[in-house]
Amino acid sequence: MFVRASKLAIIASAVAGLAVASAAHAQDIKYPVDTVTLVTHSSPGGGTDVYLREMVKFLAPAMGAEFAVENVRGGSGAKAIAKVANSPADGSVFYGSTPSYINMSLLSKPEFGHDSVEPVVRVFLDPQVIYVRKDSPLKSFTDIVASAKANPGTQKWGTGTPASLERQALEEFKTKAGVDVTIVTHDGGGDMMINVLNGSLDLGIGEIQEFRGQLDAGEIRVIGVFTDERLPDFPDAKTAKEEGIDMVVKKFRGIVGPKGLPPEVIQAWEAGVTKALLDPEFQKWYKNASLIPAFMTHEEFTTFMASVVREQEAFFKEYNITSAD
């Protein structure tokens, strides 16, 4: 078994075009299974799908296993979670997760939800930013609040789906700033961006990838970020914290697996993801995609996830977002 796994690791490393030295290093890692399937609810080409397919190129040599990405769509992730929850906890099947599966579990109460699976590691944070069209007078969080206070009840802020983390962020921002604005939900980043561009909305919240095309064309500007620190790509966009709004949005991308995973599998993931994140090629890719590496070990991620669940529950309760039953 050891021989086979290490051979595989060498082959995988060689395929990835890595130096012999790293292949030798890979020999001391033995992952219990040959092929790992990463399940995603995202469609081929969707955000999560693309990131998983990119990451496995670097995970394969780092962990000494082959990876496959499987798109299990439908039910807002319910089917993907059900598949992972019903898979053996031997390190062969995982779910490439975003916070959406927690929302789905809380709102739709499916047979298999967030409590049927176990967090493994956190990998990235997707920075949530506030953007406006190029001729908007708004330039900072301070401007936004001032403008909303000067024109109560007339400003319109755009956000994603009703149960999304982006919506939650804007509601929190609205409450903390103490302003009277209308928060308008959308089906996704695309239609929101159009409404920002055509002036129907005063601002929108989203991820940089969603509007990269318009951003590079200079049609829209990023004026603020909900991260701990300013983003290197947008040095002029201040964080909410800097401007006295004490909030950080943590939209994560991580790995979740079936319950009862053996410790060596979890360790292999912790080591593998850490190593992949250090790979210069991968760094180049995720910097370009505006993802912030935000690795968390199994233990940290479990605690983090529990707090996310609590916050989401409170948010749904406060804004009366419930399932019909």
Binding site: G74, A78, K79, S108, P162, N198
Partner: protein, 495 residues
């Protein structure tokens, strides 16, 4: 100049040539099989484009779309069954021409008008994509709502004398579209605890169910498909014929261009509008339905224009103008190509490669369209049970491949029973399908518009685009009521 070179390079690059020819061939076959829509034909290819170079993958998908729009007319003309939704308008006169022994001519008209339409659409695509990136911006939520209402009104008034049935059918479609999570509160509506229904009922299942499967149910109770006359060959239109059909081709091209650019219903609406307008402007409107060649030329030009012009909003803004361009959008995103104004400056090789590939695909359609007739004829002359079983297998494979879930097959079968019932009571399908497609957009843009205007309904008339489109929709419905009132009065007077 440089861009021209890239396009020219696309004309001679072996990989792109293969993609353009292969796409057209696969598209014609897929389009010719009743029930397999251009979007399904393309969706089946999508996984294969993963490993391809981005330009090749995108050209392959676009060429498939082009081929499928022509392929759909083959069974429409030969066996009275549209191979694609957009070919449903071709059935009316194409099949009538076949019954008059003019199948070859009908196929020839479809092919040539399709190619002309395709080239016209391509010219629009090349010329308008960048400027139109700005037009999409004018569509505010009230305008999107008005666009949906206009689409449904146009379709409902296509059915002469059956306006009420058509509107009822549209309402059933809108009702189907309410299944799933509420777009604003997130509440689950009519999901009956099934996680599969959370995202709503995919309209592709309704389309397959009411069109293809219910057709198979009905066919099962009938003696056998009419066999096309042996050795039908494509007869390209001669000068006399061409003189007769060019106005129809021009009308179809303009309507197709407009429909393709406007995000929404796509080729089907364009075909029917083209059919209607061609008849309205024809010198011989009485021949329509009895085998008028203009009745084939108009819709076939229109749906092939859409195959190219629907790429305009897709490329310039990432808003697909039809189901098929939605698949193409998936193909672009798969390779990390983000639609938008900058796609042209950052990835000119893909865009101009696509333009070149589409030119090849449209030109390749004439020889390929003639060549593939024999295998297509062989296919449709097979015993009906075998062919039906084969189509069921293809449809179920296609449906299953969407979510890898047999539940979807069940949904499509239920939709087929609905379709069977509607057909039995002579309700038109198209309003239902359009209602299903547009329902979500209608509802969410209606509610979003009200949210933005603080529940002030005047927002639908103060937005100029919305007011204009709603006004046109009223004219369509009023015109249809007026016409049927006029007809019934004349009938009474005659009696």
């Amino acid at each position: 100049m440089e861009t021209l070179l890239i396009s020219l390079n696309a004309l001679i690059s072996p990989a792109l040539l293969a993609a353009a020819f292969g796409g057209v061939l696969w598209g014609i076959v897929g389009g010719a099989l009743p029930g397999i829509s251009p979007s399904i034909t393309m969706a089946l290819l999508l996984p294969f484009t993963y490993g391809m170079d981005p330009t090749t993958g995108v050209v392959l998908l676009a060429a498939t779309y082009v081929g499928a729009e022509y392929g759909g007319s083959i069974p429409a003309i030969l066996i009275n069954t549209p191979g694609t939704n957009a070919a449903a308008a071709t059935v009316l006169d194409g099949y009538a021409m076949n019954q008059r022994g003019l199948a070859g001519e009908a196929l020839g008209i479809s092919l040539v008008c399709g190619v002309i339409g395709g080239l016209f659409g391509l010219a629009l695509l090349v010329g308008l994509t960048q400027p139109l990136a700005k037009l999409a911006l004018l569509f505010t939520p009230p305008a999107y709502f008005a666009l949906g209402i206009l689409g449904i009104s146009v379709i409902a008034t296509l059915n002469e004398g059956a306006l009420v049935k058509a509107l009822m059918s549209a309402v059933i479609g809108l009702m189907i579209a309410t299944v799933g999570s509420d777009p604003f509160s997130g509440v689950n509506r009519f999901t009956f605890g099934r996680p599969e229904l959370l995202d709503g009922i995919p309209y592709i299942l309704i389309m397959i169910g009411v069109y293809a499967l219910s057709e198979l149910y009905i066919q099962a109770g009938e003696p056998g498909w009419e066999k096309p006359k042996k050795f039908v060959t494509v007869k390209l239109p001669g000068w006399v014929m061409w003189k007769r059909i060019w106005p129809a081709t021009a009308i179809g091209s303009v309507i197709g261009g407009f429909e393709g650019i406007t995000p929404g219903a796509g080729g089907t609406v364009a075909s029917f509008m083209a059919y209607n307008e061609t008849r309205r402007w024809s010198k011989h409107p009485e021949e329509f339905g009895k085998g008028a060649p203009e009745g084939v030329a108009g819709p076939e030009a229109a749906n092939n224009v859409v195959a190219c012009s629907a790429l305009i909003p897709t490329l310039s803004f990432g808003i697909p103008g039809s189901n098929s361009t939605a698949i193409l959008l998936g193909g672009l995103l798969l390779h990390g190509l983000v639609p938008g104004p900058l796609l042209f400056t950052q990835h000119p090789e893909v865009i101009y490669g696509l333009f070149g590939g589409l030119l090849t695909a449209n030109l390749a359609m004439i020889p390929l369209g003639i060549l593939i007739m024999t295998p297509c004829l062989w296919l449709v002359t097979q015993p009906k049970p075998l062919l039906s079983a084969g189509i069921y297998a293809l449809i179920f494979t296609g449906i299953f491949s969407i979510h890898n879930d047999a539940f979807d097959i069940g949904l499509a079968l239920v939709a087929a029973i609905l379709g069977y019932g509607l057909k039995y009571f002579k309700f038109p399908f198209l309003p239902l399908v359009l209602g299903t497609i547009l329902g979500y957009m209608l509802e969410s843009s209606f509610r979003r518009a009200l949210l933005m205007s603080n529940n002030d309904y005047s927002t639908f008339v103060t937005d100029p685009i919305a007011a204009g489109m709603l006004g046109v929709a009223c004219l369509f419905v009023a015109g249809s009521i007026g016409r049927s009132w006029w007809v019934s009065r004349r009938q009474r007077a005659a009696a």
